[in-house]
Amino acid sequence: MFSEQAAPTAQGLLAPPSAEPPTFPRVPVLGYLDCSQPFQLGERSFSRQYAHIYAVRLAGMRPGLERCARSQWGNDIVLRKLSELQAGEKCCVVGTLFKAMQLQPSILQEISEEHNLVPQPPLPKYIQPSDELILEDELQRIKLEGAIDVQRLVTGTILAVYGSEQDDGRFLVEDHCFADLPPPLPWNGPSSDRFVLLASGLGLGSVSGEALLSTQLLVDMVTGQLGAEGEQSCAAHIIRIILAGNLLSQNTQSRDTINKAKYLTKKTQAASVEAVKMLDEILLQLSTSVPVDVMPGEFDPTNYTLPQQPLHRCMLPLASAYTTLHLVTNPYQANLDGVRFLGTSGQNISDIFKYSSMDDYLEILEWTLQAGHISPTAPDTLGCYPFYKSDPFILTECPHVYFCGNAPHFQSKLLQGKEGQRVLLVTVPDFSATQTACLVNLRDLTCQPITFSGFGADNED
């Protein structure tokens, strides 16, 4: 546990000044390797259609799925493409799921004049009992029914179904399976306590200032200013901080300048400018003391489609002077002291949340791992770059720590896989709402939340 050994000296600073107080050196990072090259886009061209990404996704995941299908239903099952289906024959088909949802926001419906529809207001969930599942492969599609949970699944998932085609043209599913956890990575973790702090949703630039003191306390604790000596020496074991997105608050995204008349907005500055300056100062304080990885999120000034490219260093002039600041992509993958981290800023999980009956972020996180794909709903409902050579969101190796940012609350779970995979799943809560960050101990893959609080006028703690 973080700083439990600090307990004996807890009250040490309630004393007159003593002699030279100790300074603890920050535990250095032994090995850091940034593995997010697949998520870094160089030249971007949007001239391709999105059908290619589905095609490469299916092609990329098909072998793994066929293997899983064989191991689950026997080696002698018949694998068929949809075009080869014969009525009544029990077989296994691998394909992409498509969920036809009535409530799914459709731009075509919105602009269609004959309907004269007011655009649908955003709903927390778009699922309905009348949704249908359709399986598509390279050439055909077929409606699915049977032992398959329509509400739970989302578009874009690659899965294998076992069943038979009915006379009415639908496929009756008896069982289905996903790609399951990817193959495990060897474990080279450290033998002593080393912590990585995961935080997301700092939400700078918001109108309310409640979380500001908590942010300051977070920075102070990590940089070793806060706390008694024991706690400071424990904080020196924090080897890295990963900020998983939404450094700016949603308030900075107001698009007044588009809607209002120019003479009203001519001299106003975008809210994000001030917020980024504040972010720069906070990152400077952090960078002078600990390596920081900054991932962009939904409300940050970078591109909208996944994979989001790193924030540009020109926005952070003070902090980017330090080599300890790393601006990274979203999703982000890295090897830290032999432990493989993989995580996103939460857009993938929250998008699945909207289109599935799963309510728990941790459950969704685990499900994406089981389905073998970070973000199956991209590009259908989540913006995505039109990849055509390969889909970088397919999980090929099982990470040791798999996190998502901007979750409503903190949850963590250590998942054990069939092939010996050990994954720590962490949902990093939104700091501006919960004032909670997470500390992951690399030695034993445990995670502990840290909460910061000030005192408010209402006197509650």
């Binding site: 546990m1 309630l14 050196p25 003191l213 300051q216 200013q225 003391s289 002077a321 005192f455």
Partner: protein
């Protein structure tokens, strides 16, 4: 004794100045380790309470510890008022630290004054905000300015050398660097511009320092002929070049910076070619070779120096104040306008803006004086393409 001084200081801060004294603020103000500051605050509170029982002191504490919450052992860090201290301590299963967070005369309704105090003191000490902290990170070293902007800063510099030398292969060291830098010229310019902004001050000084030796080496060479390269210098490069120009008294070179356009200038060699096709005026510089160019003595030193800060500040500004030395320039300039009409290949709107470096006829390049590239805006007609320009450069 000397140790007691801090007590008086704190007393003054709290009672006389009515400040909110947080441990961090005290640590920066007195220049002591944060832990010492916390202990000083504690000491002060204890003594003050002992001597004057009616002391109007309100103290906030920081409490941290473990707490079982939602099935997780959560580590909680909280700033609490004195009256809630015991309540918070009892809630925590393990206490890992307690110390004084701040002292103030008035009772605080909420914690925003604490935040504001800390924010202000950190803001004024941004460059060494971890100086008094208890953790020191060896890996946190600032990038050296040449590295930070990723070579673009270097390219303008090195480009300058060959330029000043005139012939690309004029000098060993610069020559060696010349070819690669020239390729990076344009990129260098951009990068230099980008880099120049955050780093103007340190860069300029460094650049100047660097330039001086390099340039003096090349000063002997009449650089004149190679205006081709001139266009690739970024503003930062220009600044540095200015510095170097001082040592190389015989000639001053001006470089025309073409931010985005390669000026295929056939060097109006003796002339300063100034052109600024619709781009920021600043980037255009004139290159002059004094040797050949009979006229222009670019007096960049003086004007440039003054200009420099403005240039630096307002990188994007395309119009500089018109210089009043048109008369001087007229004499020299006659040849220049023609070659100056180089337009960028890209179709900018009528550039019409020429910037020329002011001939240093009067000022003369004083040796030893750092020269800055000074851009003199000739009183030529120009199209106020501000929006366009801004858009372009943006």
């Amino acid at each position: 004794m000397a140790d007691e001084l801090y007590l008086e200081n704190i007393d003054e801060f709290v009672t006389d100045q009515n400040r909110v004294v947080t441990y961090k603020w005290l640590s920066f103000t007195l220049g002591v380790h944060v832990n010492q500051a916390k202990q000083m605050l504690y000491d002060y509170v204890e003594r003050k309470r002992k001597e004057t029982s009616g002391a109007q002191l309100h103290v906030t504490y920081l409490v941290a510890g473990n707490l079982l919450q939602n099935g997780y052992v959560c580590h909680k860090v909280a700033v609490v008022r004195e009256d809630k201290l015991e309540a918070m301590k009892s809630k925590l299963s393990t206490i890992t630290s307690v110390h004084v967070y701040s002292i103030q005369k008035a009772l605080l309704k909420d914690s925003s004054p604490l935040y504001n105090t800390d924010y202000d003191i950190v803001k004024s000490n941004l460059q060494h905000c971890s100086k008094f902290s208890a953790i020191h990170c060896a890996a946190a070293v600032p990038r050296t300015p040449p590295d930070a902007p990723r070579a673009p800063a270097q390219s303008p510099q090195s480009q300058r050398d060959p330029d000043s030398a005139g012939a690309v292969n004029g000098h060993g060291p610069p020559a060696a660097k010349a070819p690669p830098q020239q390729q990076r010229g344009i990129m260098g310019m951009f990068a230099a511009k980008a880099a120049a902004k955050p780093q103007d001050t340190p860069k300029e000084s460094k650049a100047e320092a660097k330039e001086a030796p390099g340039v003096s080496a090349t000063s002997s060479k009449p650089s004149i002929k190679n205006n081709i390269m001139n266009n690739f210098f970024g503003k930062a490069a220009m600044n540095k070049l200015k510095a170097s120009s001082v040592p190389e008294q015989p000639k001053e070179e001006k470089e025309v910076v073409k931010p985005s356009i390669a000026v295929a200038e056939p060097e109006a060699s003796p002339n300063t070619v100034a052109e600024k096709p619709g781009k920021k005026a600043e980037s255009a510089r004139i290159q002059q070779k004094d040797k050949r160019s009979k006229m222009k003595r670019v007096d960049r030193s003086d004007d440039e120096e003054e200009r420099d800060p403005e240039n630096v500040k307002k990188k994007r500004k395309r119009i500089k104040q018109l210089q009043s030395d048109s008369s001087d320039e007229e004499a020299d300039v006659p040849p220049s306008p023609t070659p100056e009409e180089e337009r960028a290949p890209s179709p900018p709107p009528v550039p019409a803006l020429k910037t020329e470096l002011e001939p240093a006829s009067t000022e003369g390049s004083a040796g030893g004086r750092k020269r800055k590239w000074k851009r003199v805006l000739k009183s030529k007609m120009f199209i106020d393409e501000e929006e366009g320009c801004m858009g372009k450069t943006g």
